[in-house]
């Protein structure tokens, strides 16, 4: 087993579905109403000018700019990458985003387009978005995208197996994918919209972290609801407890459905007040988004000029 010692220190001695079941049940239960209230209270934080500009800047740097459509082409990926590197053609002070996120067949074009820049290439893998394929094939796909140059791998867990109680299968897949990642860092997508309950989200978070996730991620974006604030809160609390128990830092990425700067700022508030100042960095928090970027650029422009902006002044991709 190639898991870091800290992670294994909290796992049961023998890893089987029954032992994992007890392990997962050790997480505290989650009261949905209470979680929603905490999130609602944090959403009333009022962020003014200077702190807003700082936040918008950080959000930009945290974005994994994403295109995951059947109709993606090398041209589309090249254009998106250009935008990822230089989001606002009229303003060089706007920083690059964290990464571009694409399907495996598009990885080589993304790598080419971002060569020599700070923008990383993240590839979805494991037969995203459903993941309903044999484990061997999923691991093979991961190896392939890593060979093609992906810096980051976004995998999906087998939700059917999780909901059906096959915890060993879910765990083992993540562990094997992590092995295949090599130096690439692994984000594990829980697909919280399909897990539905916050208790499931909490347990799946622990399972993924114990199995080797570098990041836990909410959604594929293909299922509604995608990222939500309550789900994010619960995942951050799971990360905090995991960190307290093992010292291992696991990052978090909400993805899908975060369309406006106002939404993104709310996520940052939840992050800031749950995990603290040290977490306000793209090393440990990302936004999986596409339309978000333009709204952030419009808000930055508004703060600079004092005039409400128009979509016409920003490139569509």
């Amino acid at each position: 087993m190639t898991l870091a010692p800290a992670r294994t220190s909290i796992l049961p001695d023998r890893i089987t579905t029954p032992t994992l079941r007890s392990f997962l049940r050790s997480v505290p239960s989650v009261d949905e109403v209470g979680a929603n209230e905490r999130v609602a209270a944090l959403s009333t934080r009022s962020i003014k000018r200077e702190s807003k500009r700082a936040a918008l800047d950080l959000i930009t740097r945290m974005i994994d700019l994403t295109t995951l459509e059947g109709k993606d082409t090398p041209g589309k990926v090249a254009q998106m990458s250009a935008k990822a590197i230089r989001p606002d053609p009229l303003d060089a002070s706007v920083p690059s985003v964290a990464a571009v996120c694409v399907y495996p067949n598009m990885v080589r074009y993304a790598v080419e387009a971002t060569e020599g820049t700070s923008v990383k290439v993240a590839s979805v893998a494991t037969y995203f978005p459903s993941g309903l394929v044999e484990t061997d094939l999923k691991v093979e796909e991961v190896s392939r995208v890593v060979r093609l140059g992906a810096d980051e791998v976004d995998m999906v867990i087998d939700r059917g197996a999780f909901l059906g109680g096959e915890y060993f299968k879910v765990f083992d897949e993540i562990r094997r994918v992590k092995d295949a990642c090599g130096d690439a860092h692994l984000k594990v997508i829980l697909e919280t919209g399909e897990l539905v309950t916050l208790d499931n989200v909490r347990q799946a978070s622990l399972l993924a972290m114990a199995a080797g996730a570098d990041f836990i991620k909410t959604s594929t974006g293909k299922v509604q609801p995608a990222a939500t604030l309550p789900v994010t809160l619960v995942m951050l609390e799971a990360i905090r407890d995991f960190m307290d128990a093992t010292g291992v830092v696991v990052g978090m990425k909400p993805a899908g459905g975060i369309r406006t700067a106002k939404d993104a700022i709310r996520y940052l508030v939840v992050l800031n007040e749950t995990l603290g100042e040290a977490w306000m960095t793209p090393d440990w928090f990302r936004f999986g988004a596409s339309t978000l970027l333009n709204d952030v650029l419009m808000q930055i422009r508004f703060l600079q000029t004092g005039r409400y902006s128009s979509p016409d002044y920003f490139t569509k991709d």
């Binding site: 505290p28 209470g34 979680a35 934080r45 009022s46 003014k48 010292g247 306000m280």
Partner: protein, 492 residues
């Protein structure tokens, strides 16, 4: 137990969003207010005025009148006449529409009322805006709807109003306590003489203005500002039929003494020392929020505050660690800052009381924890505080502190939790956190408290009755039961 956490390669942003100030421009506070008697503002016959200050800055906000015996007499006379000639005989459906108007106007002017409530009392603007004001409007709406349905409220009786209600309210929720008192009284057909607390008179005076604007017939609602003597005059006046008081147990007892032998009906809502019980299977992160809310909401100036934490021993250390960490994220400061979580203590006197009790806690051997936070250099402020190693006999476990101070004790079994929870002369509220539904209901049956919150805390609704057991008072406010205090009927 601290584990070394790696630092990120990309330096984190130090994100500061303090100082998002709500503008006070919307508040039209006058320099001086008279008494609201018989539908208009009049100068006090006592000729006396006193200032009300902003406890966050110690700056004076306005001068209000100090009603003397004669002024109170005028107010009661106006209320009596309005009751006999106008409000008592009025059809319930018409009364309802007056109260709906007031509710609607409170809704329309919510922001302004919230700002004045914060300036006058010290509570954070986000609380007055998001909690107090919606509940205030809600109470008026709720009781408006009962005014023409009283015969359905309790089967088998033909209710009638009591007459003139004398109501004395505290400074911790000035507008909300006004709503809790005035709305059911008016809906049931009574007229009112209201004495707001001396440190927080302004929003009551604004409601008086709203009532006048709503066309409420003169004399139906009267507001007489003043201090203890004014309150005593209202309570003691012969022509008052019903007395309602919310405040300290000590003053409640004085009032009950004063009323012994009189014909007046009485309800009291007094102090509390609520037990907040956390079992090992509680939804922990939400329980932390519940505990924080339970004692730091409104700076702990809450009669039903969860001021005694009873945590199951086998999760004590872990829970207290999480609590301490969470205390460090509380923002203490300017109540007009929209991001402030804990505002100002209402008065110098209250600040002194809290300080004295906290000192006693340390002296008696409990261990104190306060987060590092910078308090403003003016105004009355106190750091959120928790004590561990607290014994049941310590003063901080027995006496109501009415401030942001949590005393933490532990228990081993549910029976022990119940015993400790009930081991107090108070009985207003209690909290229980556990995943097990049957245990919630078992605990609720045994806790001697008028309000039991399970897996939540400090939840209020106009439809939900609130009030205490034992020395926390008697009578209920809110809900169908809240009408009882203001109705009379004949038996078969």
């Amino acid at each position: 137990m601290a584990i070394e956490i790696a630092t990120p390669a990309t330096p984190p942003l130090k994100w500061d969003y303090a100082g998002s100030k709500e503008s006070a421009d919307i508040a039209n506070i006058e320099e001086r207010y008279g008494l609201f008697i018989d539908g208009e503002f009049v100068s006090p016959k006592s000729k006396k005025y006193f200032p009300t200050i902003n406890p966050a800055t110690e700056e004076p906000l306005a001068e209000v009148a100090e009603a003397g015996e004669a002024d109170v007499g005028d107010a009661v006379a106006a209320a009596r006449r309005a009751y006999a000639e106008v409000w008592g005989p009025m059809d319930g459906a018409e009364r309802a529409k007056y109260v709906f108007r007031i509710a609607r106007m409170i809704q329309e002017r919510s922001r302004e009322l919230a700002v004045v409530e914060t300036l006058d009392g010290g509570k954070p603007i986000k609380e007055s805006r998001d909690v107090d004001l919606p509940l205030v409007a809600g109470h008026f709406f709720y009781y408006a709807g009962w005014a023409d349905k009283l015969e359905y409220a309790f089967p088998g009786i033909r209710p009638r109003p009591l007459g003139v209600a004398g109501q004395v309210i505290p400074w911790n929720f000035p507008l909300l306590m006004l709503a809790w008192k005035v709305a059911p009284a008016l809906a049931a057909g009574n007229t009112v003489v209201l004495k707001p607390a001396e440190t927080t008179p302004l929003t009551a005076l604004m409601v008086a203005q709203i009532a006048a604007e709503a066309g409420l017939p003169p004399g139906v609602l009267n507001v007489v500002t003043g201090a203890g003597a004014t309150g005593a005059a209202v309570v003691g006046h012969d022509d008052v039929d019903k007395v309602a008081f919310t405040g300290s147990t000590a003053v409640g007892k004085l009032i009950a003494t004063q009323l012994a032998g009189s014909h007046k009906k009485l309800t009291l809502e007094l102090g509390g020392k609520a037990a907040h019980v956390i079992f090992e299977d509680a939804p922990l992160d939400q329980a932390i929020e519940g505990v924080i809310n339970g004692i730091f909401f409104n700076q702990g100036h809450v009669c039903c505050a969860g001021s005694r934490l009873l945590v199951q021993e086998n999760i004590h250390d872990r829970f207290v660690d999480k609590l301490k960490r969470r205390l460090s994220t509380l923002r203490v400061g300017d109540p007009m800052d929209k991001n402030t979580d804990v505002g100002a203590i209402n008065s110098r006197a209250q600040l002194e009381k809290i300080t004295e009790l906290v000192d006693s806690g340390r002296d008696e051997g409990a261990e104190m924890f306060q987060p590092d936070c910078v308090l403003p250099d003016r105004g009355f402020f106190f750091k959120p505080t928790l004590f561990t190693n607290v014994a049941q006999s310590h003063r901080i476990a027995q006496e109501e502190i009415f401030g942001p101070v949590l005393s933490i004790l532990s228990f081993r079994t549910p029976e022990e939790a119940v015993e400790k929870a009930n081991n107090t002369p108070y009985g207003l509220s209690a909290g229980v956190w556990t995943s097990k539904g049957s245990r919630i209901l078992w605990m609720a049956d045994r806790l001697q408290a008028g309000v039991v919150w399970a897996n939540t805390y400090n939840k209020f609704d106009p439809a939900s009755p609130f009030g205490g057991y034992k020395e926390s008072g008697f009578g209920r406010e809110g809900g169908r039961h809240g009408l009882l205090a203001y109705m009379d009927w004949d038996e078969e």
